[in-house]
């Protein structure tokens, strides 16, 4: 059977949903960041697929930039976590609720 664009899109969606599960479920910030990587990666598959099926390079470009963005996010995110960890010795987001209401 022929694998069409829709297959890739569906796969991408499923992966995206898994990412969402992680984002919502994880309380450990580091593991939560993993989930955000999944979100971005799932979209990259779709971009590559569309690019392939349309014969257009733009999708690959987009995926390329998404990877760059993901990487820089990691840098900043980890920086933030380090600062927080230095202060509190934990990176559990449940303890991070001094502001509310």
């Amino acid at each position: 059977m022929e694998i069409g664009l829709n297959h890739y899109l569906v796969l991408s969606t499923i992966l995206f949903a898994i990412g969402l599960v992680g984002v919502m479920r994880r309380k450990n910030l580091l593991l939560l960041f993993f989930a955000t990587e999944i979100l971005l990666n799932s979209v990259n598959i779709a971009f590559a697929a569309i690019s392939h099926y349309y014969g257009d390079l733009t999708g690959q470009m987009f995926a390329f930039f998404v990877i760059a963005i993901a990487a820089s996010e990691v840098a900043v995110g980890l920086g933030l976590l380090i600062v927080w960890h230095k202060r509190h010795g934990k990176i559990d987001l449940d303890q991070m609720s001094t502001m509310k209401g």
């Binding site: 664009l5 960041f33 971009f47 733009t58 930039f65 600062v83 001094t98 209401g101």
Partner: protein, 502 residues
């Protein structure tokens, strides 16, 4: 083999890059200076930043002259798009930044301003926002957005206390999720149209006669979610109050203005054509968003006990109010958006600056948070001028004429009326009334309560320096005499918006 590409310099229109490059150069310069000689005073960096922002502003004036003469300019392989929207929004971005930067010159020392990197990051962020508004390419929008956002997260965290880290982490995490949504949304649009340029997307969709409405809607949903986050539309607003509270007041004021106008521009570019092509669903959804955001944020603002949080919710509400312009989508509405935001800049920056100037290092026992309402009790007796100015900002935010924001509200509601959104106009008006309550609450505390024992009024100007005072004075003058500026502003904005085809 690929053929070599010949590109003439003229066709690149490199001038379109000038406004964004100036802050980048400035940032690099600051870093270089810091490398050569560390430990220089922050005044130097403030001065430099201001200088580069001024140059940026100048180049924008230049660009606006060009636009006025020859209309929209595309540049650098048609990635850059300098139209009226881009210029107007950059004016607001750079202008607000210029108002923000001097706020670094506080009397007390705060952590972030001891870094030259702070100013570098700040300038990078400005250029990021500028890129974001000056293009219709989703990729560049994304990259610009992330550049600005990453810098912004850092700037917030650099305030260096628990609340600011918490704020930065929350903002960052939700931002990451929003980035995911953005890329997913872009992917859908790309899948639909084979392009990531908004005008081409519009063309293709129109040619298809919106056959794949389901796909379009999914794309719109994810875009809405991502920009809903940026614009703090309910229910994507949850970061806003926490981040505003955690960030320094000055930064909070900045955040309530600049990132949002950038996001508004993108939203305007993206959704305007959809609305005009009769995507009814989007219209309904935006309608709901506008009303829910305005109303819910107002209601939550009512019950706040901290002024800064109240202002955070109020900013959310204002964003919802302005979102109505996107929904209405007429030239008048889009002009109203800019007018509103320009006036909002003055007022909101002014009120956050008032909080900033009264920021204490250590809280006395009776004060629950940095800017709890109690802190301002009886301010009229101990610091009358400050109280009057603060009241002025509050009245302006509440939309009491003839102060700045009234004109924005007036024009915005009028655009709703003109656009045929009668009920919306009424809801907007009534929401202003609800909002009146919480602005009033501060005025009541300031004017009608007795001061806490031992409060000699010094606390309200704890951070006061000439720079801060002049910024506040500037904002106050702008707020009071907005009346005079509205007409030229309106004519300018309208012509730019109209000539951009919005």
């Amino acid at each position: 083999m690929l053929e070599p590409v010949n590109v003439s310099m003229e066709s690149l229109n490199l001038m379109t890059l000038a406004p964004m490059l100036i802050p980048i150069i400035g940032a690099l310069l600051i870093i270089v200076i810091d490398i050569i000689k560390g430990g220089l005073d922050k005044t130097l960096y403030v001065g430099l930043s201001l200088l580069f922002l001024l140059m940026d502003f100048g180049s924008l004036l230049e660009a606006s002259g060009v636009f006025a003469q020859s209309g929209t300019v595309m540049g650098v392989f048609d990635v850059m798009l300098i139209d009226g929207l881009a210029i107007l929004s950059q004016f607001i971005i750079v202008g607000a930044s210029m108002l923000f930067i001097p706020l670094a010159l506080t009397h007390n020392r705060f952590h972030e301003f001891s870094y030259p990197e702070f100013f570098a990051l700040f300038l990078f962020m400005i250029s990021g926002f500028q890129f974001m508004v000056a293009t219709d390419n989703l990729i560049l929008i994304f990259v610009g957005l992330e550049t600005a956002s990453l810098a912004l997260y850092t700037l917030i965290a650099m305030h260096n206390r628990d609340k600011s880290f918490e704020a930065a982490v929350k903002y960052f995490t939700m931002g990451a999720l929003a980035a995911g949504f953005y890329s997913f949304g872009s992917m859908v649009f790309y899948a639909l149209t084979g392009s990531v340029e908004i005008n081409q997307m519009a063309t293709v969709l129109a040619a298809n006669n919106y056959a794949d409405i389901g796909y379009v809607l999914v794309g719109v949903v994810f875009m809405l979610a991502s920009f809903g986050f940026k614009l703090s539309l309910v229910p994507f607003h949850t970061w806003a109050p926490d981040v505003y509270e955690g960030a320094s007041a000055a930064m909070a004021g900045f955040m309530s203005i600049v990132p949002k106008i950038a996001a508004f521009i993108v939203v305007m570019r993206l959704f305007e054509f959809l609305i005009h092509s009769g995507v009814v669903w989007l219209e309904i959804i935006l309608y709901i968003f506008v009303i829910v955001t305005m109303t819910a944020a107002n209601i939550w603002a009512l019950v706040q006990t901290d002024v800064k949080r109240m202002l955070a919710y109020s900013s959310v509400s204002h964003a919802g109010f302005v979102m109505a312009a996107i929904l209405i989508g007429t030239t008048q509405a889009n002009s109203a958006l800019f007018l509103y935001w320009a006036l909002f800049t003055f007022t909101n920056l002014g009120s956050f600056s008032m909080l900033w100037i009264s920021r204490q290092k250590h809280l006395p026992a009776h004060q629950a948070s940095d800017h709890s309402y109690d802190k301002f009790a009886g301010m009229i007796q101990t610091a009358p001028i400050a109280a009057v100015i603060m009241a002025l900002f509050m009245l302006s935010l509440a939309g009491i004429p003839p102060f700045a924001l009234f004109w924005g509200k007036l024009y915005m509601i009028s655009s709703a009326v003109t656009g045929g959104y009668t009920v919306l106009a009424l809801i907007m008006a009534l929401n202003s009334a609800i909002a009146g309550y919480y602005y009033l609450k501060l005025i009541i505390y300031m004017f009608m309560k007795e001061p806490v024992v031992g409060n000699d009024g010094h606390v309200y100007v704890a951070n006061s320096t000439l720079a801060l005072k002049s910024i506040i004075g500037f904002a106050a003058v702008g707020t009071i005499f907005a009346l005079v500026a509205v007409n030229p502003l309106l004519e300018f904005i309208t012509s730019f918006v109209y000539n951009s085809g919005y």
